[in-house]
């Protein structure tokens, strides 16, 4: 989840890809992880070109969103003096607006502004100006940027007509589009971060974002509200359906389920179990799995929450800005 720690195995797995039949896989390193596109039932050359376009998009996003790029939008924000503003692009603005919403929803358990807290930034969505109200702002989109990239990659692949696809960033942020022909969904697994071979759950998903956060031995996550390391949680997963036809489009902003799921898993590592349960209980379509610390490695049992049911997403493309 931290952008300076390579995270190549995020706890989500694709089960038996070889059994899925006619499947193409493309990989690309970016954002300190490996992005992959799986395209089912597609022409190999055409799918390679589409994947290349998707990876070019990820590279562009990294240039705008990474705090490790000295001339990214986020770096410019991180160098603001109190009262100063930076003009940012669409990607940075959307990520910050999503981040602020999730900050509110989680009582600050998800916070992209390390140290000072997100309220130290004023976000003007009309002018794309971000203003720092205090000193020492340090924004890190590590907990949301990969999910956001996955959302945009999925939109691009659909635009190319590659509807039967699965996209992920380091298996920590993933999005299943339509399933391969003859499958009901993409066969996905959740596995124990302490023991990857131990599969905790098997899922079948389509039109759904799935995100994972976890700690491995020696790692820790800080609670942004207290600045102290979180204890008692090994991993959290969140599944969120892509907004369906019944969801009204959002005020010029993208509805980005993988970005939201990405942020929620970070929050669910920090929130208490009952707090996570409460948030799930009022979020239609949301599913979460928590893995508490076990008495000994590899013994913890998953806790599973589901939000209220929503009408199944029939054709998500109708409401999103799927066109260019």
């Amino acid at each position: 989840m931290r952008a300076d720690t390579p995270d190549l195995d995020g706890g989500i797995g694709l089960a038996g890809p070889r059994e899925l039949g006619d499947l193409r896989r493309f990989s690309h390193e970016a954002m300190n992880t490996v992005f992959e596109v799986y395209a089912a039932n597609a022409d190999a050359h055409y799918a390679a070109q589409a994947a290349q376009a998707a990876f070019a998009l990820v590279d562009r996003l990294e240039g705008e969103l990474s705090r490790f790029r000295p001339n990214s939008d986020i770096s410019r924000i991180n160098h603001l003096t109190p009262g100063e503003s930076a003009r940012v692009g669409e990607a940075a603005l959307e990520c910050l607006l999503i981040a602020r919403h999730l900050y509110d929803l989680t009582d600050g358990a998800f916070d992209v502004a390390i140290g000072t807290g997100l309220p130290s930034l004023e976000i003007d969505a009309d002018t794309f100006l971000i203003r720092a109200t205090g000193d020492g702002v340090l924004v890190d989109l590590g907990g949301i940027g990969k999910g956001y990239a996955v959302d945009l990659m999925a939109e691009l692949l659909e635009d190319w007509g590659l509807d039967r696809a699965f996209v992920h960033a380091g298996f920590s942020s993933a999005l299943a589009l339509e399933s391969p022909a003859d499958c009901d969904g993409w066969p996905l697994t959740l596995s124990d971060p302490a023991e990857r071979s131990r599969v905790l759950a098997r899922l079948s998903m389509r039109q759904t974002a799935l995100s994972a956060s976890g700690v491995r031995k020696g790692d820790h996550i800080l609670d942004p509200r207290t600045g102290t390391p979180v204890r008692g949680r090994q991993a959290a997963w969140v599944a969120l359906p892509r907004p369906g036809a019944a969801t009204p489009a959002g005020h010029g902003l993208r509805l980005a389920p993988a970005a939201v799921a990405d942020a929620l898993t970070t929050a669910f590592m920090v929130l208490r179990v009952e707090e996570s349960a409460a948030l799930c209980a009022r979020s239609p379509g949301l599913e979460a799995w928590l893995l508490p610390d076990g008495a000994s490695p590899g013994t913890a049992e998953l806790i599973h929450f589901s939000g209220p049911a929503i009408a199944p997403a029939i054709d998500a493309r109708e409401t999103r800005d799927s066109g260019p």
């Binding site: 050359h45 055409y46 390679a48 070109q49 589409a50 290349q52 070019a56 790029r69 000295p70 001339n71 410019r76 160098h79 009262g83 503003s85 003009r87 940012v88 692009g89 669409e90 607006l97 999503i98 602020r100 919403h101 999730l102 509110d104 929803l105 009582d107 004023e122 976000i123 003007d124 969505a125 002018t127 794309f128 203003r131 109200t133 635009d159 190319w160 007509g161 969120l240 907004p243 969801t247 009204p248 489009a249 959002g250 005020h251 010029g252 902003l253 993208r254 509805l255 939201v260 009952e274 707090e275 409460a278 948030l279 209980a281 009022r282 979020s283 239609p284 800005d321 066109g323 260019p324």
Partner: protein, 479 residues
């Protein structure tokens, strides 16, 4: 093209005000105020919090540069590079997009117009540049980012319509084209900036003016080395559903969709990697050496890619001769597209030091090595022209008593260039163009300089064919 945007803006639910800051109790009680908007609530409540915050802190912000003369621009060519320029321009205050023109109306044009609308800009979309120039009377400037073989026609037409022009490099794929652009600029008296954006990059400017000009840190530069290596990549494709009708492609000089997307590889349209990539850096050779080259020899070929879809050389190695004001120099340059080893950089080697520089903020962002026998740089370090040296392992070893190996020379001190860019790479060069329009700056890369670079670079492909050294005469660089 408006329908997409309307759809996004449609059906805005009544936002019940900004979600108030929640206390721990609210969370445990169940976040009762938020779920009406749900997890995607940001999409509807996006401005509530900001407006409330601004109202509370009423007097705070300095007024945005209200007296800035707004410049009306059109983007001609809305593909990958046009979008890079658009992104940079969106971060520059005082730029108003009035029009966008691209023949790929269903993809590039729609995408860019939709993006601009989200930035509260209201550009008109065009497929044909003549129609755009006829109808858009308010334009001050046109940004040309079309394929190279269109640059001359597009630039000259815009200049003759009374607009200032920023035209991407390479200025043209032919010398005739490039020359006609210089002449059109002179005839109209309008500004013409060529998109060699390193000429406005603060790190390059610092190196040119302070390190080479004032401090002369490298001494006499005798050799130069540079490269842009890229890993193998598949040809660019396009979503099937947005294919451009064949008649339109033909009308604008493209055989098919593949050629439209990969024009850089085709003779008569682009110039291959030596022109796409080399042009940026060979322009810096000329600039830093203070002269255009006096001769060139080159070897190149299509060693790897499919000749059915790639006409230009995928591998090129060049040696230039220079007669610089300080004396003769030689410069090597290579570009290849089968292995990205060490990416791109330029290395200037003088008798007193070495500068390795690139546009990238990540790699080769300005390293300096002082020759052990050169005068000390202490004053320049104090003036913050260069950073303090990084301790060299070899020195530490010799100080700790290890025997120095006389067969190897002492490692020179390594310094860095303490200047970096906080903005998108093309932003300073565009800013320089807009400043020039406002009469507040001189262009950093006017037509004549772009022409010198075009002459230097286009000749490489001739030299490859000729298989021998081709001389340049001073008058080759003049129009």
């Amino acid at each position: 093209m408006a329908d997409e945007d309307d759809k996004r803006k449609g059906e805005i639910p009544t936002a019940p005000g900004a979600p108030p800051k929640l206390g721990r109790r609210d969370l445990l009680m169940g976040l009762s105020t938020v779920p009406a908007l749900g997890l995607f609530g940001y999409a509807w409540s996006r401005q509530q919090q900001y407006r409330r915050g601004r109202a509370a802190a009423a007097a705070a912000t300095p007024a945005a540069a209200a007296d800035l003369q707004e410049i009306n621009v059109a983007l001609l060519g809305a593909g990958a590079q046009g979008q890079v320029l658009m992104e940079a321009m969106l971060r520059i205050p005082g730029v108003r997009f009035r029009a966008v023109c691209d023949i790929w109306t269903e993809y590039n044009l729609r995408r860019v117009v939709n993006t601009l609308k989200r930035f509260k800009q209201e550009p008109n979309g065009y497929a044909d540049y003549r129609e755009m120039l006829d109808k858009e009377k308010e334009l001050d400037a046109v940004i040309v980012a079309t394929p190279d073989f269109w640059h001359a026609q597009h630039t000259s037409a815009a200049l003759k319509a009374g607009k200032h022009v920023y035209c991407e490099k390479e200025m043209s794929n032919t010398l005739e084209g490039a020359r006609s652009m210089v002449l059109a600029q002179r005839e109209t008296g309008k500004l013409l900036q060529i998109g060699h954006q390193r000429r406005s990059n603060p790190r390059y400017l610092h190196c040119y003016h302070k390190l080479l000009g004032e401090a002369k840190l490298l001494g006499r530069i005798v050799t130069v080395n540079g490269q842009w290596n890229r890993a193998v990549a598949p040809d660019l494709g396009a979503p099937d559903r947005y294919a451009i009708p064949e008649a339109t492609l033909k009308q604008y000089g493209f055989k098919d969709m593949h050629q439209f997307r990969n024009w850089r590889w085709y003779k008569g349209l682009g110039g291959g990697p030596i022109v796409d990539l080399g042009s940026h850096q060979i322009d810096i050779y000329n600039w830093f050496l203070g002269a255009p080259p006096s001769g060139v020899m080159a070897s190149g070929g299509l060693l790897y890619h499919d000749p059915k879809t790639h006409e230009w050389h995928d591998t090129v190695m060049v040696v230039y001769d220079y007669d610089t004001p300080a004396g003769p120099a030689k410069a090597y340059y290579q570009t290849q597209t089968t292995n990205g080893s060490q990416g791109y950089y330029e290395s200037f080697m003088g008798d007193q030091g070495t500068l390795i520089i690139s546009e990238s903020e990540l790699n080769y962002a300005g390293q300096l090595y002082r020759d052990p026998n050169a005068p000390a740089w202490d004053d320049w370090i104090q003036k913050r022209y260069v950073s303090a040296p990084k301790e060299q392992e070899a020195k530490e070893q010799s100080e700790s008593g290890a025997v120095a190996d006389v067969r190897e020379s002492v490692a020179p001190d390594q310094h860095t260039v303490p200047v970096s860019l906080r903005d998108p790479y093309h932003q300073p060069h565009l800013q320089n163009f807009f400043d020039a329009i406002r009469g507040k700056a001189a262009l950093n890369c006017p037509a004549e300089i772009g022409y010198e670079s075009a002459v230097s670079v286009l000749k490489v492909n001739d030299a490859i064919d000729a298989k021998c050294r081709l001389p340049f005469k001073p008058e080759d660089f003049k129009v």
